[in-house]
Symmetry: C2
Subunit: 432 residues, 2 copies
């Protein structure tokens, strides 16, 4: 047995406290699995006096986490501060400069600076573990980098944000509207006071960009992920989706298209029989397609102290066992830049919801626009009649190009009888 693996923990929020508890409760079994004990030697957080429900007296305290990364008696620095830049980035840079490996749960940091940090780390022979940055407790980075390492990954998709999935599940189960359920999610602690990061799809886009990099051997390119959130989804959309045989999920989707990649996050209608349709509440799920393995699915809790601490510990255990994998599956200097296919070249089926004034001739105008843009309609659903009032008119289309669809939407919006900005949800068949 080698000596103890010493870790320094920066950030003692929910996840940091969860990690300390995990090490305390499962230290015996960790030592057996790693062949050496894992001990926390140093910690750093904003407020030393805050009660976190754990004893912190036994650890060396640092006010400055970057100083801890440089000077603590530690083999690994665990960064649990969060945020794309600022102190989190400073901690990682300090750790690399001191030739210490990093374990982080920080998706924003990896999405924005992952490639450069990986190059810096690999240049000095250290590594960066970020299992906890994507899909919480699900060991999806490990599955992609190691479990499926024999495969060319052709595509992947998943439910990557538990807050959105909770909101969509609850909207469906209770037939309530978005704003109402968001407020509940905030009360339950599932959504932040400023919920934009989650409900506008940014968090899912961070995770998707990381997955795409690992899967396709390219530099993380978060800026080019097409990102659309769930704020405009209504109870009516959710009800009609079920009628049509679909369920609405916020998906992140990435796939190869020759040398380019698709990267997009938006609400999708997925068939009720697809593996993600039944993933509910705060659970996440990722479906990965490889050329030899075919389709594989990974599901679990996407957030929370326990699941995230579990993922952080998986990276620490790898390090303790001496197992290292290139940060993004291939040496970071070999990562290529891949152009993201622009969204207006997307081809797919659409669900369209218009609020129209219920009067004769409305539908003729709409049908003419669809004809002019060569959009082929599949179904029309009009639930309510209310002469001269605004009523929802819902249609689904066959496969059509996004550009034509967007032109049609613009023309709909210009009609005097269309009283709200038209809304579309992309229908994904997900047949793999």
């Amino acid at each position: 047995m080698s000596g103890a693996l010493r870790i320094a923990v920066a950030g003692l929020g929910t996840v940091g406290a969860g990690l300390l508890r995990l090490i305390e409760e499962n230290g015996d079994i960790l030592a057996l699995r790693c062949g050496r004990p894992i001990t926390v030697t140093a910690i750093s957080a904003r407020d030393q006096s805050r009660d976190r429900g754990i004893a912190i007296e036994g650890y060396q305290w640092f006010d400055d986490p970057a100083e801890m990364a440089r000077n603590a008696e530690a083999d690994i620095v665990v960064e649990l501060i969060g945020g794309a830049g600022g102190p989190a980035k400073a901690v990682c840079e300090a750790a690399i400069a001191a030739k210490r490996s990093i374990v982080t749960a920080n998706k924003a940091l990896i999405a924005h600076h992952g490639a450069e940090l990986a190059i810096a780390a690999e240049n000095v022979g250290v590594t960066i573990g970020y299992e906890a940055a994507v899909a919480g407790g699900i060991p999806i980075i490990k599955a992609l980098r190691e479990g499926l390492a024999g495969n060319r990954i052709t595509g992947l998709y998943g439910i990557l944000n538990g807050t959105c999935n909770f909101i969509l599940t609850t909207m469906r189960q209770t037939e309530r509207e978005f704003a109402d359920v968001l407020a509940e999610a905030q009360q339950l602690g599932y959504a932040e006071v400023d919920p934009g990061f989650d409900v506008d799809g940014v968090d899912a886009a961070h995770k998707l960009a990381i997955l795409a990099s690992v899967a396709f051997g390219c530099r993380v390119d978060f800026e080019n992920v097409y990102t659309e959130g769930i704020r405009r989804i209504t109870a009516l959309d959710i009800e009609l989706a079920e009628t049509l045989g679909y369920r609405i999920k916020l998906l992140g989707i990435a796939c190869r298209q020759g040398e380019m990649i698709e990267q997009r996050v938006h609400p999708c209608m997925v068939p009720l029989g697809s593996p993600v349709a039944h993933v509910e509440d705060v659970f996440n799920a990722v479906v990965v397609n490889g050329d030899f393995v075919g389709s594989t699915v990974y599901e679990g809790r996407g957030a929370g102290a326990g699941p995230t601490a579990s993922a952080v510990m998986a990276d620490i255990v790898d390090f303790a066992r001496g197992a290292t994998t290139p940060v993004f599956n291939i040496p970071a200097r070999d990562l290529v830049d891949r152009t993201t296919v622009p969204m207006d070249r997307h081809v797919g089926a659409y669900y369209i919801r218009l609020m129209v004034v219920d009067r004769p001739g409305v539908f003729a105008d709409i049908a003419a626009i669809l004809r002019d843009e060569a959009v082929s309609m599949e179904q029309i659903l009009q639930r309510t009649r209310s002469p001269n009032e605004a009523v929802p008119l819902v249609m689904t289309t066959h496969e059509v190009g996004e550009a034509a669809m967007m032109r049609a939407l613009k023309k709909f919006a210009a009609l005097e009888t269309v009283v709200e900005s038209p809304y579309v949800i992309r229908i994904e068949k997900l047949d793999d």
Copy 2:
């Protein structure tokens, strides 16, 4: 970049040929991911002249796989012969004696001899990879040993045999009987001419015993897995299961009970909302519960050349990267013996199907037996009436001990009006 990783492959059936094709097709990306090329140097199979659709001239040929394991110019020996003993075991023993690591897809071998082979391997500093032995392409061994390494595993269950899952799915979808669908599965190549290994649950029990060892830190104990197959399931059972809100799956279930473990493979009625209910056809799925991560689910193809080659390659990639994990997650010499809870101490709900002669008083006899054994009935379903003929009588129970249930079944069987051996399917709530 270190030198090429050289592998010797024993056994060139479907999986062996698939592995050679994978290395040929994805060699470029494997070299990038491993930092070194992976090359096959030697092969061995029963018949050198058989056409396998792949060129084998470039490799050194051995008639005797054990001799290859001893003498080939190779860093790893890949054992794809199959079978619990015989040549497969001889190859592994020869490889260990020659201080070479092993990668195998052989569940029978690991289930019967895993602990002793692991001790021998670890004594000389080599390792045994067997990702492909359980659940085909799903990286479940990696998830358990590494991805969830921070957790105490409290329990796991799964669909571990694709043949049985295909038969049960097809029986449900086509409303046909077992024998008929088995014949179709045999024609499709999903079932062997002698199907017992699959349909009697033996294959699933091999896999479950391996998973239990990894999860609970104990020596593989295949002999004590309670094992029951799917031959007695009828179209009626499947139809009634759906009526009751369940689906019938052959599950392997293992969990901790204090210092003992449960290990059992048998048909189960699972709630339609459970994560395995929608896993169909030849797909496998495993649900793992950890104390910090909660419930995680892994799903994919359980067999076939591509998925199995993918799993074999995952182990080879780990080796090429220098990443080794104790064979059963902790050093093999530290594995403990855990007693398996005897099946008659199982407590659960049951579905009971009796064939009874439809005449007055039959049910009074049955009800009296249930009362005497303190079995509390939940529902009775009698679909058909046919005076003085045999008709099915189906009941479900509340939770009851297996011992009482078995005594009741014996008493049912002794009734003159019960004309066939009574049949039960255990109902599993699977709430985790």
